[in-house]
Amino acid sequence: MKHGTQEWWCLDLGSSSEITVQDFERLLESLLRFTPDLVPGNKRVFLEMSRIPVRPRPDHFLKRVQVLARRIGLDASSWRYGIADTIPKAWVQTRWRALEARLLPVEAYFDYIDPLHHFECNRPERERLACFRSLGMKNLEYLFTVPKTAWLVRFGEEFDTFLEHFEFGDRFVWKTWKPSETLSEETRWNAEEWVSDAEGLLFRLKPLVDRLCSRLYSIGRAIRKLELVLKLDRPVPDRKIELGFAFPQTSRPLLLKLLREKLSHEMSRHPLSDPIVEARIEIRETERRPAGTARFSFSAEEERSEEERERWIELISYLGSKYGESSDGETPRAFQAELTEHALPERAWKKTWYAEPELVSSSANPVKRIEPARPIVLLQHPETLNRTGPWLRRKSGAFEERYRICSFQQEERIEGYEWDVEDTGGFERTYFRVSVESPQGKPEEWWVYRDELLGKLMLHGLY
């Protein structure tokens, strides 16, 4: 970083959330769209924005960063930002927000020394601060009452960096981050799952290829040359398979097709002697995507699924606004269904509305639970039945129809939870699956329950 009037934006990722290395890498890749010069620290990133002609407003910048973070799966609600002309000052501004530097508490001493906070252990820090306090040094002002030479003698170059960062500004050269030239993804599996043919290996490689494509997509590059490394069970050198492309490629299916041809060709020439334990794909050469919309890529297929996703999101948002939760509190007239873990049939599912198509998981609870057969049709208001001997009389419209009972099976007793006072407290039902014969002689299956409290027989569902 050359010297000159700089403008550092510090993005503090908050200390609470745990961020894995890959996610951090992914975040840096997506921050590249703001500025090429990034200086990553421990749970914080500094962006040098002085050379960007059109700079976004800081709060808009934070919002867009939060959207990017959500796509990677990070919770960005607690992130903060600060702007200053040097990295240490930017960090102090983010953390302490103090105007007058001299009134900062003693803890700021270490923030000046090491804004990137690379070294993890902060035990020496705590002890140093405790002894400052017991010597009566409450804030930075006190530090300067004692002559500098005393501290220099005692603490050596550590105090020197503090002074330099505190007063003179930034002559220090910070190392900026470059996206790694060679992207690589690997997977490992135990020896028993022996992969013999190209198809089985390809099945293993597909997730790797997906991940690689999405990473390339975000940093706007295309693949030129690819190498597949297979590690075998026996201590024999790894098998390397090279793959070069005439055109730089980014689409998944095309890549898979080319991989399949290459693999089957390889396997036929010299088949696999023993099981593969680990496979790694390394992308040797990449090329910057052609200018213009950074998201354009040759293959149609991925384009279609991407475009289909856009249309779905647009349709759902339109339908949501038209038929979803209306302002006057009326229940939504358009919904998707999601299962919930509740005994009561009316509450066994709930109305949801998801923008992203794949977010609706078919059944909410991971533990698949076997339930007795449920009726397809569930009446909104259960109809009362009265039983006389082998006949069930059901009121439909003005007159009453008589159905002959064939059998009662599948007894199921469902009781409300006593602690669930407002919701389902105090109901007790014994359900049966009743097969009856309608007046016209046609067999029907009903879902009937006896309400223990009222002692009445109610029709609740039709199979």
Binding site: T149, A150, R154, A343, K368, E411, E412, R413, E415, E422
Partner: protein, 1028 residues
Amino acid sequence: MDYTELKSWSYYSFLRGASPPAELIRTAVRLGLRGLALTDVGGVYGLPKAYQALREAGVPDFRLISGSEILLKDAPGLSISLLAPNRLAYGAMCRLLTRSHAGEAKGTGALSTQELVRGLSEIPGGSELLLFPEWQERFFQERDASRLLLDWEPLRVLQNPLYLPLRRSLDGLDAERSACARQLSQELGAPITAVQGVCFAERKDRLLQDVLTSVREGAPLKELGFRLARNSERVLKSGAEMARLFSDLPDALTRTMEVRERCAFSLSELRYRYPNEWIPKPHSAESWLRTLCEAGIKERYPEGESPAVRKQLEHELKLIRELSYADYFLTVQDIVDFAKKRGILCQGRGSAANSVVCFVLGITAIDPVRMNLLFERFISAERGEPPDIDVDFEHERREEVIQYLYQKYGRDRAAMVSAVVTYRSRSAIREVAKAFSLPVGTLSARKVQNELIQSPDLPEKKREKILEVVERLEGFPRHLSIHSGGFTLSSEPLDTLVPIEPATMEGRTIIQWDKYDLDILGLLKIDVLALGMLTAIQKCLEFTGRKLHQIPAEDRATYDMICRADTIGVFQIESRAQMSMLPRLRPRTFYDLVVEVALVRPGPIVGNMVHPYLKRRRGEEPVWLPDPRLVPILGRTYGVPIFQEQVMRMAVTLAGFTPGEADRLRKAIGAWRAEGSIGEMGRKLQAGLRRAGIPDAFAARIFEQIQGFSEYGFPESHAASFALLTYVSSYFKCHHPAEFLCALLNSQPMGFYSPHSLVDDAKRHGVEVLPVSVTESEWDSTLDGVKTLRLGLRFVKGLSEAGARSLIEARRKRAFLSFQDVVNRSDLGLKDLRALARSDAFASLGISLREALFRVLTLHDGLFSQEGVQVELFPSTLLPRMSAEEAVIQDYDATGLSARGHPMKFLRDRLRRHPRLRRHANLTTAEAKTFRHGTEITIPGLSVVLQRPPTAKGTAFATIEDESGILDLILHREVFEKCRDTIRDEAFLLVRGVLQRDREAVQVVVKGIAPIFSDLELPVAPGAHARR
């Protein structure tokens, strides 16, 4: 239709079952069942209590089957429940359970499949255990749950009788499950039996079981979903209901009766003997006991025992031979003998002090005949309960005794008794609130109660439900912990009697039953307890070079000190209530001390015996005894019955009770207070007294007083053994204050007051206390002359004992000359050096605290040059000077006490500078004690003690302290509620109230309390305060 339930969980399956074992039995009997198998998870915790409930119900043909359920490590969801048909199989089951708990974290006992197979086949009797594999839990997850059971290989290997349990849980899948069961039963050759797997006794308990499941899963009720049962079918059901449910499989019900016939084992078959293999061969237990008694008598009564003693001894030995408790006494004597040989001070207490045999064997130190004590209180033929001897040891050396027991009898024959930790309202409130998804976070129980549960936006019905659950959850067991000292020993391995579990504490193993279970089954227990005061007295004896019996009895100066209530640090009579009673009671003899120790208890206060006793003692009230025979009994306590023995003796002499009946009366009195009904024994006593001509008024007075002390009342023998320690510690405080303080400081933590109160009190008695110093201090505090004491290095927070030892070692070779000398010669770590610097230990080398700390910094960076001479580049005088007050605060911070003076002394000059508080700055507690009764005062002080005894109906007692002494405060309920947080969190208080004087006892009834430091700024409040 006859039916026996073969699988049930009581609330001793921690967080699974929802009913106490006794309630399960009572409900089963009411429903007309023919038997119940109690199969708690991982143990037989609830069996004794179920056995007792069955004995009380008195139903002959109802059979309690002992069993338990074992979880499997490597087959989650599959568990095995075992039933014990006979005594041998029961022993095998207990041993298997012990193995399942060995080496496991508490409460998660589980076996692997090989361990189970090896256990069932190797342990004698293991192959007779009935097996009930529990396969139905997994049925909800996957269809082929039966496959799981089929290829579970132990079923092939074991020849145990195997039964296939089938449950009708009315969840719509019963038909499929029955079909699957039929197919399984053919393949395994195991007959199908109807087993409901009961979790609670009544359907209304399902609510409790849901809350317990929520606590176990750690998720609020709303998020539990399918982990909650959808109906309350896992409840005890009558034979008729089971017949309806199993109408298609009637033989499943008849098979349960088959199993009932097969399991004939009952807990009454459990017999066990105390270890006696170490008794010298020719002697039997009884004869060896007699020889020891004869030897003991010569030692206790050198000049020959009185005929009364001999008669009492013979009577006791005969009774012991009848009830065959000889080897119990010998075991206790062996322990006390070991302690005496190792020089550990010990003393028996409790009801044991009534027995001459114990006195003669050296277990207790009170001569029961001289004190006219009652042996029946200890052992009586009718009572049938085993004796319970408690022995106190020095708290620092008790571990040696315990390890001696483990080493002598072996880990499989000696184990400690467990104590069940139950839910009290405090812990129950937090758990239940979390279950009802209230935002509890880290709020204290009181805040949860006031802010969350009583908050207006919580719907009324939900609040009722929460409170109902909290109230029902109290008393439920949470986990097992160690009884304070209870030990059981047995001649044959203990784990065939009851499973043994590791306790959380290192090196300790506990049995699964608590002390009440042992009483129910008539098993014997010894209490090995720790008492801090014994350690202190032992150290005093070493300092003064005396023996315990060389202490002169009835020393005038000691009693004068006690009457002045100057008893801070003395055993038993240093608490607030005692110190306010001493000036009024003015004990002059040893028996007065016994009464003082027994009188200031909740029992006598509730039975309002305190005031009549005081008035009669001072002669303000005539002592009137209607019957001359009462004089020897109540004469010594001026006609007021204080001890249980007095009531028993009254019953014996006047109402014609036998000694055994008198002891049952004592137990009835306990129940009387609880159930409020007079009970049959009470009516018999009333009739007896009326027959003896005692006027009804006097009898009524007696009953009212008896009602008070039944539970809390002290037995006279117990009070006597404690009074002995009280007298000895008072004697040392009076004549050897320095030694007494040194002993107390070296056996911390103990007692009622914190070290800094003890030091201030000793200073007021002319003891000079020198601060911690590198050049003089040892690890313990030491005496530097007649009345000077040097604080030990043990008070320096953060200083490791190894570091201190190396410092002392280096100093013994050559005295330290300078700071550098200390650093070079003693290999102290930087942490230790910094701790020493912060406690100003280098003052004796002429280095101020901050300078020392500053120098330690240089060591940190190793800046001094090679040849070890420190480069003096910077004069440390430029550091900001430390004011006297900051020094005291630093002392408290570093060592928890300060030799320089009391912080109040420095606080007063701050107060003098404060505009509003200036006029109250100068009042000291000593001065306040001279004011008249009823004067309004406002006095500053350091809050030292805060107590709210439950029997005081909301009033709280506190004490404030300053450099001149301490002053007692009384806060009535409404005053306490107003300033509860201030008095608990603030250290320095400004107290406004009215002075109350009763002769020399002075107290302040508080009107209001203000924290002093809301205006002034004191960075670190002195840490060491006795809050409760």
